[in-house]
Symmetry: C2
Subunit: 580 residues, 2 copies
């Protein structure tokens, strides 16, 4: 037996017991006649002590242990002379009587410590060593806990987990598919699923009225930072439900997770329409941990001979609580940030409402104190606040101000990762105009149901149609999205037409789904959560990579495996393929 | 709201309540002034009643409902005039006051009944309709329950579920990989995992000492009946363990599943060495629900001038309890079966030990009653039994007799799917000789640890080396297999050498694992269970296909999706590939 107890368990009550323990050498130090070794495993660290006077051979052996050696020891639990309050096992240590070196280790390429000296690429290449570090190990354990609690909630609510296939059919709509050449059917390809969307709808047709799956999905996109070619979804669908039923059920899921994982109780989630989110926050995923809503200011800003405002489609501001204390230098830095290409803001006007009641703006030349007082009024500013104002075309200005809003919140410490502010954004547009292809695309996907009263606008005003589609937003991140689906084959055909599918294209790609709808499809809808992001947020971070056990880099490579890689010519031949 | 209660829930206590229900029309019948509709959903069937006298319009509407129409009704729960004891909801019915047709249905291509008229291909093409049938629906629910109980057991035992990647690196060893061309790295390919073997070993190196995952795996093999190109494994690994620890832990898993799923309590699982299994049952996965062990009979059969026996390497028999009652015709059919090419038995000798004590064999010409009495002795036969004997080369004969044994057991009704007889088969050979390539292959995989005392035989007698490898066998099916792994890089190198890898091949394919072993790999081992088979067995069947929600056919095709299929020329171009 390699161990009778693990390295996180020993307490005062164990004093006097004989134990066998195994693990890795975290560090060792010699103090006169004693050698102390910190032994580590998944559960914690235990201090081992070797006494030169009692067993000099063993003590010498201990002195030659390197970092990350794997050892097994036998010994007796004793009280520590100096208790370590920082460690759970800090009351005791183990006086070693036997030691067995199970494996040696080269010096690791980076330190196995909470704060490591290893850079990103090095940590990825030796991910198995990175996983020994508490921050990564804890993320992996957290992820397992979140998936387990997710399953618990959904199982308790009558959902059935169903495995859908990975080798499916390629559909050119949506993102690019990864494809898998078929050897048995040469010239033909499977595709890896971008999501189990059609399968979950088929399960609804099949009568499995509450489905979920925690499942890998695949998208062959040009990767941006923090995008992975394979990612995990909590995929869910329900039949015989209306939008409200779905929102209630999955609000319950997130509430359950916040309670079980973070011990936070959250009441009913607020709801906001897409149009309001854009109007008030310039974003369809507003961070509502803090206020700073947009204030439209055309009426108090225009017609003052200040051309920046006068020529703008929209003049819009935010009131920054306590922002009057920003120095000139801080404000200049903010203005520089706004002008960077990734933000693309034209410029920024500010107005300070000082503590003494005086007003100071960057456009004092153009606006009288009376004018500025009207700004203060519409922005509901108090003494000590600051107003930031942007102007320009509606879309671009809202977007830039949204970025500014988050940036300022960051500076003011308002984006505390331990505070959670979920929000439903509802009534998304059904279609969005695509400049490139010069036609409307499904904003969500082609199976999303329009609001019934809006269907008549399909010909006259497609951009105005709102859908029974919703996103769950957490702290400014979209963590889930879904919709009520179309379950009527006529309406689905109509949608395909409006999305530019010919009848034969629709049939080739979604024929099985259209056919399924001929045999009594029930009303249904669902949602899918980005599991990687959810784990990261519950882990107090925004980056997903350290919450994925074996992630790929930004070029889609696994640098540990060195994949993708060349394959044998024979293998290619068997598949009936040639590299160009 | 589409429903206030589902179709499986109504009982006497609900009488008098107003309910809203939704579901599919299972059947409808008109009896004079009444129309009865069976409304079905995932949970059961409720009888609806429409009264022509009370509401003739509604009753006429009900009379026009077709099979599988989706409807929503409002009504009042009333007691049934004639109770139906067969149905859980058979005490009551719902007198309908309002009805809403949610969707129509064409007449389904096969009947949605427990016993359907649909053939296999038709059922696969319309799998979403097949899933509405109880037998398939119940399999899907069973599968979800088994995976949920598996996770519960493993979580309760401190295991951490870790998701390993699907886009990995191709390794020519083992079965054929499915590959995924990389667009971003043209000319290079990912592979889909045949199992997460190397990842789970890396997790052990990383200190996650108890890992599991319920995970899809992929093998591009020529399909035999009941093989799927994608299949699901319960994949597990533990560090700081010996073989006994693993057997105990996973015996516990199967015991837990048998208890929770079948309400069967099973004690300690028997263990048998591979050599014994072959000797006593001619198989490394013996079905021990019944006895019929092999009896080696060379000493009582040879040297009697019966050349079939005299020239044989092995003469081996089984005693069939009660087999003396087999008719001549039955025995002839068994002999025919034995001679079919898939069994490949040369022939079959029998000896009946009749109830009156007389003996009758198919070789009375060659053997005296005294000879036959010695057979009876060594086979421990009783009156009424029958001995079957086969002779020939050792391997082939054992294999054929093993098939005969199962066949006879089937005929005698000894393979009751509701009886469960698990068995550990241990001490598998490390290597097996491959006639085709004329060299030794790893029987399990190249990471399997030989028994330490056998390592010295690597040069002298590789075929005799036994490994710390084990299978869990249930009712004659291998449901799981695993081993203690090599954790020492020197031994791993030595193994690669003996498996015919050059150093550079080993490095190209498993370099990351070999490198990981340089940094303190702990002793570890694991097991993987075939989840599809496990579900089938717990569902009382041996075929896996109806336990997979969306299976592929024997040509690896999904006939519902029509996948694999051609892809766009553009898509191929983007991947830098040409069809030959």
């Amino acid at each position: 037996m390699y161990r009778t107890i693990n390295n996180g368990e020993l307490r005062r009550i164990h004093i006097g017991q004989e134990v066998i323990m195994s693990g890795w050498v975290q560090r060792s130090r010699d103090l006169g006649g004693m050698t102390f070794v910190d032994l580590r495993d998944r559960y914690g660290i235990t201090q081992l002590v070797f006494n030169l006077d009692i067993n000099s051979e063993l003590c010498h052996k201990a002195r030659n242990l390197g970092r990350e050696f794997v050892i097994q020891i036998k010994g007796k639990v004793i009280a520590r002379a100096s208790v370590n309050k920082e460690m759970l096992t800090g009351d005791v240590e183990v006086e070693v009587t036997e030691m067995n070196i199970l494996n040696k280790s080269k010096v690791p390429p980076f330190t196995i410590e909470d704060q490591t000296d290893g850079g990103d690429e090095l940590r990825m290449k030796y991910r198995y060593l990175d996983i020994r570090r508490n921050p990564i190990k804890n993320n992996i354990l957290l992820r397992a806990k979140i998936s387990s609690e997710t399953r618990k909630y959904l199982n308790d609510n009558g959902f059935c987990e169903v495995e859908t296939p990975y080798l499916i059919k390629s559909t050119p709509e949506g993102a690019r598919d990864f494809v898998v050449p078929s050897r048995m059917n040469q010239g033909e390809f499977y595709a890896l699923p971008q999501s189990p969307q059609t399968f979950k709808q088929l399960l609804m047709v099949g009568g499995i009225d509450k489905y979920y799956q925690i499942v890998k999905c695949f998208r062959d996109e040009d990767l941006r930072a923090d995008r992975q070619p394979e990612f995990t979804q909590i995929d869910c669908e329900m039949a015989f439900v209306e939008q409200e039923d779905i929102l209630n059920m999955f609000e319950g899921l997130i509430r359950h997770l916040l309670k079980e994982i973070k011990n936070i109780n959250i009441g009913e989630f607020p709801k906001m329409t897409y149009d309001d989110a854009i109007r008030l926050y310039g974003s369809d995923k507003p961070d509502i941990r803090f206020d700073m809503r947009f204030v439209e200011m055309n009426h108090v800003c225009q017609n003052n001979d200040f051309s920046v405002f006068d020529s703008a489609e929209l003049v819009v501001g935010i009131n920054v609580k306590g922002g009057a204390s920003f120095s000139r230098k801080q404000i200049d830095k903010i203005i520089d940030f706004i002008k960077t290409p990734q933000v693309g803001g034209g410029g920024l006007i500010y107005c300070k409402y000082n503590h003494d009641g005086s007003l100071k703006s960057s456009v004092d030349k153009f606006f009288s104190e009376e004018d500025l007082n009207r700004w203060i009024d519409v922005c509901k500013s108090s003494r000590g606040d600051l107003i930031f104002i942007m102007a320009g075309s509606e879309r671009k200005t809202r977007k830039a101000l949204s970025t500014l809003r988050l940036h300022v919140a960051e500076l003011l410490g308002l984006r505390n990762p331990e505070i959670f502010a979920p929000l439903w954004v509802v009534d998304f547009p059904l279609l969005e105009w695509d400049e490139e292809t010069n036609r409307y695309h499904a904003m969500h996907h082609p199976f999303t149901s329009p609001k019934p009263s809006h269907i008549s606008k399909l010909d006259s005003n497609p951009g105005e149609i709102r859908a029974n589609a919703y996103d769950l937003v957490l702290n400014g991140n979209e963590i889930g999205g879904g919709s009520i689906r179309i379950h009527d084959k006529e309406l689905q055909s109509l949608m395909f037409q409006h999305l530019g599918f010919t009848e034969s294209q629709a049939k080739a790609q979604f024929g099985f789904l259209m056919e399924a709808f001929e045999y009594g499809a029930p009303p249904h809808g669902g949602i899918a959560f980005g599991f990687d992001r959810l784990c990261a947020l519950l882990g107090g971070q925004e980056g997903i990579r350290d919450f994925i056990p074996f992630p790929k880099n930004n070029s889609g490579r696994d640098v540990m495996l060195d994949a993708p890689s060349k394959i044998d010519k024979d293998q290619l031949n068997e598949l009936g393929l040639d590299n160009k």
